[in-house]
């Protein structure tokens, strides 16, 4: 009854089906995504502390550096490259408007986190927004412009919440 060092699995990333893919079990999801050319997800610490590697796994934001590629069998994954629905298109416009990014390295994680915030369909004040993004490190912006952007995105979606 031995475990395996390589495993063959199926999963979906950004609506693209991947079948019978063999992955080394020790490789984390962030590295795996980057190895297949989805380099929009960035690695910052491999400890789960900086948030740069955040992706959406089965509808939930997770740290891709703390998921083993062996654990994604049957899963549906979304990375920054796949955030092209109407909601996120608008969010990106709002981010750009507020200059809610400078170097862009934290942006993919920030956007996934923002998507989860908006999916909660709650009106949040600035302090609450700051709490929601408290796990995403940004060294460039000082966070204010990101809070501005998320505040506007929530406002923008408020009609959707009231439906």
């Amino acid at each position: 009854m031995l475990g395996s060092k390589k495993i063959t699995i199926n999963f979906i990333i950004n609506d693209e089906k991947f079948n019978d893919i063999t992955v080394p079990v020790r490789q984390h999801l962030g590295d795996f995504l980057r190895s297949i050319g989805l380099t929009g997800t960035h690695i910052g610490c491999e400890q789960g502390a900086c948030g740069a590697c955040t992706v959406e796994l089965d509808g939930k934001a997770v740290r891709s550096c703390l998921i083993l590629s062996s654990q994604i069998n049957g899963s549906v994954i979304k990375t920054v490259e796949g955030l092209d629905d109407t909601l996120m298109k608008k969010v990106k416009e709002i981010f750009l408007k507020h200059n809610a990014l400078q170097c862009g390295f934290c942006s993919s994680g920030m956007l996934i986190t923002t998507k989860e915030i908006l999916n909660k369909k709650k009106k949040l004040n600035r302090e609450q927004i700051r709490t929601e993004i408290s796990g995403n490190y940004c060294r460039c912006t000082g966070y204010q412009s990101i809070v501005d952007a998320i505040e506007e995105a929530i406002e923008d979606n408020i009609q959707g919440y009231l439906k």
Partner: protein, 280 residues
């Protein structure tokens, strides 16, 4: 850093996991992975195999009967926080979990994982001890139950035996006159606390009838301050008295966040804060 090599095994059932674990003493359990995988990534750990229990259905339920709430060990923190039984009967647990790391970690980290890991600076180990919960384990010899207060032995040392898996945590439903209060002092939201307290309080005729103070982030495991609790029931809160009592009763240890003296002071302050919370 990249993790050292290891084998991966997805357990099909609790029995399956127990069998595998018993046969390979260098194997470890993978539930949420939010503490295990960082350790692997930093090469602080080289297990032979990871036994993935995160998808075992029996470990993913939250149930309730008249006297207890049962949280399966593989239920994620986020799932606990959104569960109706918890919202209705143990809402303080949601406040506690809001302090555990950040949303993305909580989406994967598990209730049982955190309790089994026993990080001295973590909230849940102190919570289970303060709540007088029971830890349910399953091994080759079947089911075993142990009081949370007997579960933690030392730094990352719990009562889990080589063939056992933590399957469920059993929380007594609070009495009408009972409350669990919680507070911690931290540098940044989601960080390990500099010091924290979970207090189990019962009130009778507007006075504290029963008090169990449990401190965390102060030593190698949750620290139960029985004598201090008794003193407060008897004499009420006084900074110097409480500080001295805690000092005499418990041995706080410095960590990177704060030294022992600071933790003692903060623990004293926290005690006052939760008592004030109770007054409101």
């Amino acid at each position: 850093m990249k993790s050292p090599d290891f084998c991966y095994y997805e357990a099909l059932s609790i029995e399956d996991a127990i069998k595998f674990k018993s046969n390979d003493l260098e194997a470890v359990i993978l539930a949420g992975g939010q503490s295990l995988i960082p350790a692997l990534n930093m090469r602080l750990s080289s297990p032979s195999c990871l036994i993935d229990i995160s998808k075992i259905k029996e470990l993913k339920n939250i149930t309730k009967d008249n006297n207890f709430i049962y949280i399966g060990s593989a239920v994620t923190h986020s799932e606990v926080m959104q569960n109706k039984f918890i919202i209705d009967h143990l809402p303080v647990l949601i406040d506690v979990l809001n302090m555990v790391a950040h949303p993305a970690i909580r989406n994967k980290g598990t209730h049982g994982g955190s309790i089994a890991y026993g990080d001295p600076a973590a909230e849940l180990p102190a919570f289970v001890v303060a709540a007088n919960a029971e830890i349910i384990l399953m091994g080759l010899n079947g089911i075993r139950t142990i009081q949370a207060s007997d579960f933690y032995h030392g730094l990352f040392e719990t009562d889990i035996q080589d063939d056992e898996i933590l399957t469920c945590i059993k929380y007594p439903i609070l009495k009408n006159n009972q409350e669990i209060l919680f507070d911690e002092i931290y540098r940044r939201h989601g960080d390990y606390a500099m010091a924290g307290v979970v207090a189990n309080i019962e009130i009778l005729n507007n006075k504290i009838d029963n008090l169990k103070l449990v401190f965390f982030a102060t030593g190698t495991k949750p620290e139960v301050a029985l004598k201090t609790s008794e003193l407060i029931i008897k004499d009420g809160y006084d900074y110097s008295n409480v500080k001295n009592m805690i000092k005499n009763e418990l041995d706080f240890e410095s960590d990177l966040n704060s030294n022992a003296e600071m933790k003692l002071h903060l623990a004293t302050i926290l005690t006052n804060k939760v008592l004030k919370l109770m007054e409101t």
